[in-house]
């Protein structure tokens, strides 16, 4: 070991500086900027967030006001997307539903991340029994095909927006745990982690300062793409009657109501579905872009 005086920082601190991903972030941003589709996808998401915040103040109609004199009006200059079976302006309801959709997407992924990432890191870092137990739990959660686990959980928690967030969130835990575990294993095997440990750094310090910054990028990629899937699953749950209940302007629930008027008034089902597609598309494009930016091949 080299002699340390006051002016030289201790080796773990040097290592911490080396591991700091700032240069990586700048590089990533530069790559992201070069990927036009991803960049616009990102801007479009910001725009959608903006719409969800100020949009409700700008539309001229009340999303809940029932008015049978304007029942099932087809799209016109007055009602851009027409009106539904209760005479409510569909455009207004879609704008109001934007915040619900984004809220469900972000919160369920956040929930999955907050539970899944620590699970995965602990599993990958400590290995042995704890790893075996956690990975069996993940295997069991993944043994339910696709969204079936979310459906089963939603059936238990009852139909509400918060219950679908929990249902979809629990469903994504296993995916985050897997990604975090795999990345942790890869980082843990690097020599500098051994070096830091030899210098006496605690497990907590190694995980927080050295493992976490290095596994952030695959987790961000996973999170962006999972928001897209979570929005789709949540809308499907509401469509099936297990999520948001009428009169909530949730898009899946609106579509479900529009089903009954499909033959003569397809616009009632058309626009909410289009809205879901566009939002999910934005997250998918952005997710693809940052995946390419983080991991160029």
């Amino acid at each position: 070991m080299v002699i340390m005086n006051e002016s030289t920082p201790s080796s773990p601190e040097i290592a911490a500086k080396v591991a700091k991903p700032e240069a990586g972030w700048r590089l990533t941003y530069r790559r992201l900027k070069r990927n036009k589709a991803a960049l616009y996808g990102g801007y479009f998401i910001l725009f959608l967030v903006l719409v969800s915040i100020i949009g409700p103040y700008l539309t001229g109609y009340d999303p809940f006001q029932v008015d049978y004199s304007t029942k099932l009006v087809t799209p016109s200059a007055e009602h851009w997307f027409g009106t539904d079976h209760h005479g409510r302006d569909i455009f207004t309801r879609i704008i109001h539903g934007m915040s619900i959709t984004l809220y469900i997407g972000f919160s369920s992924v956040m929930l999955g991340m907050l539970v899944g990432v620590p699970m995965g890191i602990i599993s990958g870092y400590y290995g042995k029994t704890i790893d075996a137990v956690m990975m069996r739990i993940v295997d069991i959660l993944l043994a339910f095909p696709g969204m079936l686990l979310a459906i089963a959980l939603a059936s238990v928690f009852g139909g509400s927006i918060n219950s679908i967030i929990i249902a979809v969130g629990i469903w994504s835990v296993s995916h985050f745990a897997r990604v975090a575990r795999g990345s942790t294993l890869a980082v843990k095997g690097l020599e500098y982690i051994d070096a830091i440990r030899a210098l006496g750094a605690s497990d907590g310090r190694i995980i927080y300062l050295h493992i976490l910054p290095n596994i952030v990028s695959p987790i961000i990629v996973q999170a962006t793409l999972r928001i897209a899937i979570s929005i789709l699953i949540a809308a499907a749950l509401s469509f099936l009657g297990l999520g948001a209940q009428p009169p909530t302007p949730e898009w899946g629930a609106m579509l479900s109501a529009g089903r009954n008027y499909l033959f003569d008034y397809p616009h009632v089902a058309l626009y909410p579905g289009l809205a879901i597609t566009i939002v999910v598309l934005a997250f998918n494009i952005f997710g693809d872009g940052i995946r390419d930016a983080f991991d160029p091949r």
Partner: protein, 306 residues
């Protein structure tokens, strides 16, 4: 290989047990007293007690689980609390419909996905590549239930090419299978493309070309064979999405399968049916994944036993 098969089968046992524990717990995860919920909010006390007795809810939970498992091994999935018929009798007739729907959709998505993926990779950044990848991105982002409804409106109501609902004839299968297969086709196309691109740049492909082999032979016999290996794993994951997507397709197209039945049971709070269908879905999926894993192993003999 045999050792691997046996080991892989043994590995699924704890997962299957875990799944039964989770499915068993569903009824206990419901906030409130399951007996009250199952017999209805306003049910008289005696009726609630009878329900409690019938479901064995008075026993300690581990005993309840053992009873549940004991019945399960004998093929008894419990009884519907609504119709009082055995759950298995209710599900039995519907499994095949759901399986058919899922299998046809899997075949469609594999077929379209691989063809589109290969063409995209061979003509990288060309017209076909761009169009296919844009379509795939849309296919990935569209909610299946919306696509289904729009297909009904267009092809069943307006053009009257296909019936809007039901199951049995091939005409009735077309729209649900397209609805269900689209998402999978999109994912498989993207995966095939990127996997093909990885393979095409490898040395042995250059060697094959340098030998003077026809491009078709190089692509289809040398490149595709290796490129498909990672695609197989994706297909395994897709089977899960197709099975749960079947629930939605069955609801949209009024197909009397296991998925629609499960949703009706959830809405009617008929939990024994919910538990039964969820369990059967999970077991079929575990089995399908086992098959995919074994074929992956067979295709890629380089994978070492760990």
């Amino acid at each position: 290989m045999l050792v691997f098969v046996v080991r892989r089968v043994i590995q699924t046992i704890p997962v299957v047990i875990g799944v039964t524990i989770l499915v068993f717990s569903l009824i206990h995860l419901i906030p409130g007293d399951p007996a009250v919920i199952l017999s209805g909010e306003n049910a008289p006390k005696e009726q609630v007690e009878r329900m409690r007795e019938r479901l064995g809810l008075n026993d300690p939970i581990p005993v309840q689980y053992l009873t549940y498992m004991g019945n399960l091994i004998q093929g008894d999935l419990g009884q519907s609390v609504r119709s009082s018929r055995p759950v298995w009798d209710e599900i039995k007739g519907r499994i095949w419909t759901t399986m058919q729907l899922a299998i046809y959709s899997t075949i469609l998505s594999i077929f379209i996905g691989i063809i589109a993926g290969v063409i995209s990779a061979v003509r990288k950044y060309g017209f076909y590549d761009t169009s296919f990848m844009v379509i795939a991105l849309f296919g990935l982002s569209m909610p299946g239930f919306w696509l289904g409804l729009m297909l009904i409106k267009l092809f069943a109501v307006d053009l009257m090419f296909f019936p809007p609902s039901g199951w049995g004839t091939w005409q009735q299968a077309v729209l649900p299978v397209i609805t269900l297969g689209t998402g999978g086709a999109a994912i498989i196309a993207r995966m095939t493309r990127s996997s093909m691109l990885d393979v095409i740049n490898q040395d042995y492909i250059r060697t094959a070309r340098a030998k003077g082999l026809k491009e078709r032979v190089v692509i289809y016999q040398h490149a595709l064979k290796n490129a498909l290996i990672p695609v197989v794993t994706v297909i395994g994951i897709q089977i899960g999405f197709l099975m749960s997507g079947a629930i939605i397709a069955e609801t949209v197209f009024a197909i009397n399968g296991m998925g629609r039945f499960a949703i009706a049971a959830i809405l009617a709070r008929d939990f024994p049916i919910v538990q039964g269908t969820v369990l059967v879905f999970a077991l079929i999926f575990i089995f399908a994944n086992l098959v995919v894993d074994l074929s992956y192993r067979y295709l890629n003999k380089r994978i070492e036993l760990n």
